[in-house]
């Protein structure tokens, strides 16, 4: 039995400690907003926050997630109104949408420490998130807008 804290709730999962967090979230907690894209840390579709930091859940064994605060896209905000989500909506970023939970989680983690990232900083931070549909241009615009809104609200 493994105890986790996911989206501010304590949960118990009957799974092996080496099972990656991704599969526990999806299969056991029915939090399917976090996606499988590669299973190898190469695409970022599975990005969640662990104590506020963006991590790839497909490579994160449950044992390493114990005692940490895990946040998934479902817990990023109460009403899907995190500044990142609002900017994503305003710029109509998603096409198929499949990569976007991971993109938004990566972006939110970036903006939490740097609300006014430069183009280069965005490039470096977001490089691990693939979007096969090709929404990068809008992702950049949306990150900048979300950053401005974060500064304004602060």
């Amino acid at each position: 039995m493994i105890q986790l804290n996911v989206n501010k709730k304590n949960v118990t999962i009957d799974a092996e400690p080496e099972m990656p967090l991704l599969y526990a979230l999806r299969d056991f907690l029915n939090l399917t907003g976090t996606k499988f894209g590669c299973g190898a840390g190469l695409c970022g579709a599975c990005t969640v926050h662990m104590d506020g930091e963006a991590v790839r859940s497909c490579l994160m064994p449950l044992s390493a997630a114990v005692g940490k605060n895990i946040t998934t896209i479902e817990g990023l905000s109460e009403k899907s109104d995190h500044p990142v989500q609002e900017a994503w909506l305003a710029h109509k970023v998603p096409q198929c949408g499949y990569c976007q939970s991971g993109q938004m989680m990566s972006a939110a983690a970036l903006l939490a420490t740097n609300a006014a990232p430069s183009d280069d900083e965005i490039d470096i931070h977001m490089q691990g998130n693939i979007c096969r549909c090709g929404t990068y241009k809008r992702i950049k615009l949306a990150i900048k807008e979300a950053g401005k809104n974060i500064v304004r609200e602060a």
Binding site: D27, L42, N129
Partner: protein, 752 residues
């Protein structure tokens, strides 16, 4: 002529989960053969009801959409067309996804055809419903219908300003006869107020919340998850396997050998060994412990490197005539004015962000399926066959079409769906088959490796003539018939034998080749290699003539005219539609090229090591020109800026046209710079995103889309943006540094 039916009294929409509809009207959308060679394989779907409008008493208008969503925004655009003719208020529109059912007509979402083919029909449906609502109001006021008009979800009496809401009128309208669609007036294009605007995007809030359900996300009580080890070589079989260790993994329920399949490969599963488990991780871990010995079969002879070299040699020889004018072989070429070049493109793979996945459960001799599919009807037909059911028993298979996390052609094939059905049958449990990324990359249906050859001589007025063009590639037809050795006329109607250029003499030829891995339709299909060759070659001709590439295009296209590529030897298929509605119009071609050159400012002075490249391609009845600016320093290429100018006729949802073009630029950039699937001893060598590269955010530049305002019939949008991109990039590289790249990807020569 459209056939439109009043279904109000039949509780018709219950089956798709729509209730409360008081007025329900549905229409047939005629089935058509697929633009590129899907005809005959997807099965002929008869004219059956395919789109429905349902109006409830509270005024909510529910639209059942029969097209599959995969990121192109079709779930918004089709309803937008109906709402336009209906004069409905977009805030009261609710869109429901249709299940796969023959009563919905052709659901195949491929060939960029959703709007291109059904525009008028969909409009007529909206107009008919509007007419009925107007008639109902006129009856209530006892006035002539001409005195009333539908405005923004109400019918208004023009003189008095009295109005009745759509919701209230629905029950009255439901009792009326359906007017003949041809007697109902469609709105004038100039009166469009919804079409051409960016309405609220239907699925966005759900995606942003992380709540969109894709195939991977389907969960059922008691469900098992399957991960399948498939034969690495096409046509390979299991010789023996040892499942002892796999079965010991906690959570693994069973290890099942799938039934053997033989060639032609069709879109059937590859068979193999499935590990089924109570959770995804257990299935993956169990599979790692499987020991399988394969018999690889004859396709293990395949090596893509030597195969590609051979294609290139082949196209340097005279081939089989496809379409010709005069006799170029009698012509005495002036070598100083002749350009001759061979281009090649490797195997490519779709790699949608969401790998294939499907869930099935067997019920009462039939089954229920949940899967993303670009062609649920084809899939359903395959499932019926798999279960030994006839077409008449179609009701026994319920196909729930799930949103796709990208598809790009991959998800037209039903292999992954059949795998789920097969395993659900064996286990008597709901089974979800999930594909790993390695599965996706190694067991796909690949864009065919190809070689194209071009030769032409410059004319005195800086155009070109005595044009020879040849192509060699493993044809998609091989999937269904192993005797198929060369592309069909349909496959050659995609910017190869349908040249818009004005020649006195030309010879378009093809070659015959053997096939060894499964070919498939990938976003814009053979337009990819045809456009790469043509767009590069025009640039090479321009360079030889010492004129701009833009000018060379204009010279080759010559005067404004409508081109008919049909000849005694070549039947042009025009992406499945008539030349009357969708002509090959050189005026539109030149216009889009000029617009691009102007907007992208390609004649600007650039720094040393920088250059602009352009190209043009018409496909899926849309006209697309692309410009790319690059810099090449120390053998490293950086893409600086990309532009697309597009004339796709009437635009329904401009923002989704833009987003498709942005996506196409990125997709084309991947093809040009980094995409390559290689095969060794019949096995795909790539496995995940570390060796099958997809552009990252830092590799994609700022992008601009310029849309031509047009009242022409709408063309496709999902695919036409792709073909012109790769040649625009290699041309830019040439102009930046003088290196001409004829074999993709660029990463073979320059670092990226």
């Amino acid at each position: 002529m459209s056939h439109i039916e009043n279904l109000s009294r039949r509780g018709f929409l219950k089956s798709v989960g729509v209730s409360g509809g008081v007025l329900v009207v549905g229409t047939a959308i005629p089935s058509m053969s697929f633009a590129y060679s899907e005809s005959g394989t997807a099965g002929n779907v008869e004219h059956q009801l395919s789109v429905f409008v349902s109006i409830a008493e509270d005024g909510i208008v529910t639209l059942v959409n029969h097209r599959s969503e995969m990121g192109q925004g079709i779930r918004t655009s089709i309803p937008q067309i109906i709402a336009e003719e209906l004069n409905a208020n977009w805030d009261y529109i609710n869109v429901v996804q249709a299940k796969a059912d023959r009563k919905y007509g052709s659901q195949g979402t491929a060939g960029s055809g959703s709007i291109r083919r059904f525009f008028i029909h969909v409009r007529q449906l909206g107009a008919v419903v509007r007419d009925m609502l107007e008639q109902a109001a006129a009856n209530i006021w006892q006035v002539n219908k001409s005195e009333v008009s539908a405005i923004n979800h109400f019918v208004v009496h023009n003189k008095t300003g009295q109005k009745i809401a759509f919701g209230e009128l629905a029950k009255h309208a439901a009792k009326l006869e359906i007017p003949a669609p041809e007697n109902v007036k469609l709105k004038s294009i100039n009166d469009f107020s919804l079409i051409g605007t960016d309405v609220k995007q239907v699925d966005l809030p759900t995606i942003i919340a992380g709540k969109m359900i894709y195939s991977h996300d389907v969960q059922l009580p008691d469900m098992l998850i399957a991960s399948i080890e498939r034969p690495p070589v096409v046509g390979g079989k299991v010789k023996s396997f040892d499942a002892t260790a796999a079965k010991k993994v906690k959570g693994v329920v069973d290890v099942i050998q799938l039934k053997e399949r033989s060639l032609p490969a069709g879109v059937f599963p590859k068979s193999g060994i499935a590990v089924v488990a109570t959770n995804t991780w257990a299935a993956i871990e169990g599979r790692k412990k499987l020991k399988v010995v394969w018999v690889n079969g004859e396709n293990q002879v395949h090596n893509s490197e030597s195969y590609r070299d051979n294609l290139k040699k082949l196209v340097n020889k005279k081939g089989i005539n496809v379409n010709n004018l005069g006799d170029v072989y009698q012509h005495d070429y002036d070598q100083s004015r002749t350009v001759e070049a061979t281009y090649s493109v490797p195997y490519l793979h779709h790699a949608p962000m969401e790998t294939p996945a499907a869930t099935a459960v067997i019920k009462d001799g039939g089954c229920i399926i949940w899967a993303g599919s670009q062609n649920p009807q084809w899939g359903k037909g395959l499932v019926l066959e798999e279960l030994g059911l006839s077409r008449e028993q179609a009701d026994k298979v319920e196909f729930n079409v799930v949103t796709m996390g990208g598809a790009f052609g991959r998800k037209s094939k039903g292999d992954y769906i059949l795998e789920a059905v097969e395993l659900a049958k064996v286990t008597s449990k709901p089974v979800k088959v999930i594909w790993s990324r390695e599965d996706d990359i190694q067991h796909g249906f690949y864009h065919s490796v190809s070689a194209n050859y071009c030769k032409a001589e410059l004319t005195n007025d800086n155009s070109a003539d005595n044009w020879i063009q040849r192509v060699a590639l493993p044809p998609i037809g091989w999937l269904f018939n192993t005797d198929s050795k060369s592309p069909s006329d349909d496959d050659l109607s995609v910017g190869f034998a349908d040249t818009p250029f004005k020649f006195n003499q030309m010879s378009m030829e093809k070659h015959e080749v053997s096939s060894h891995i499964r070919p498939g339709w990938m976003r814009s299909v053979s337009c990819i290699n045809n456009s790469f060759a043509l767009g590069s070659f025009v640039d090479e001709l321009a360079n030889k003539a010492k004129i701009t590439t833009q000018q060379m295009w204009l010279n080759l296209l010559a005067e404004d005219r409508l081109v008919d590529p049909n000849s005694d030897t070549f039947k042009y298929t025009n992406y499945g539609v008539s030349l009357t509605e969708h002509p090959l119009d050189t005026a539109r071609m030149k216009n889009v090229i000029n617009l691009l050159a102007d907007k992208a400012n390609i004649d600007e002075k650039v720094s040393a090591n920088e250059g602009w490249g352009i190209s043009f391609f018409r496909s899926f009845n849309s006209y697309m020109a692309a410009a790319t600016k690059v810099s090449v320093k120390n053998k490293k290429v950086t893409i600086l800026e990309m532009h697309t100018a597009v004339d796709c006729g009437i635009v329904i949802t401009p923002d989704r046209v833009k987003s498709q073009m942005e996506g196409a630029m990125t997709f084309g950039l991947a093809i040009a710079l980094m995409g390559e699937i290689t095969v060794k001893d019949g096995k795909i060598e790539q496995g995940n995103f570390h060796n099958y590269l997809i552009p990252r955010i830092n590799q994609v530049p700022n992008m601009f889309v310029h849309i031509v305002k047009s009242n022409h019939a709408p063309g496709g949008i999902g695919e036409p943006g792709v073909p012109a991109i790769a040649p625009s990039i290699v041309n830019a590289i040439f102009h930046a540094c003088g290196t001409r790249i004829r074999d993709l990807p660029v990463s073979k020569v320059l670092s990226i």
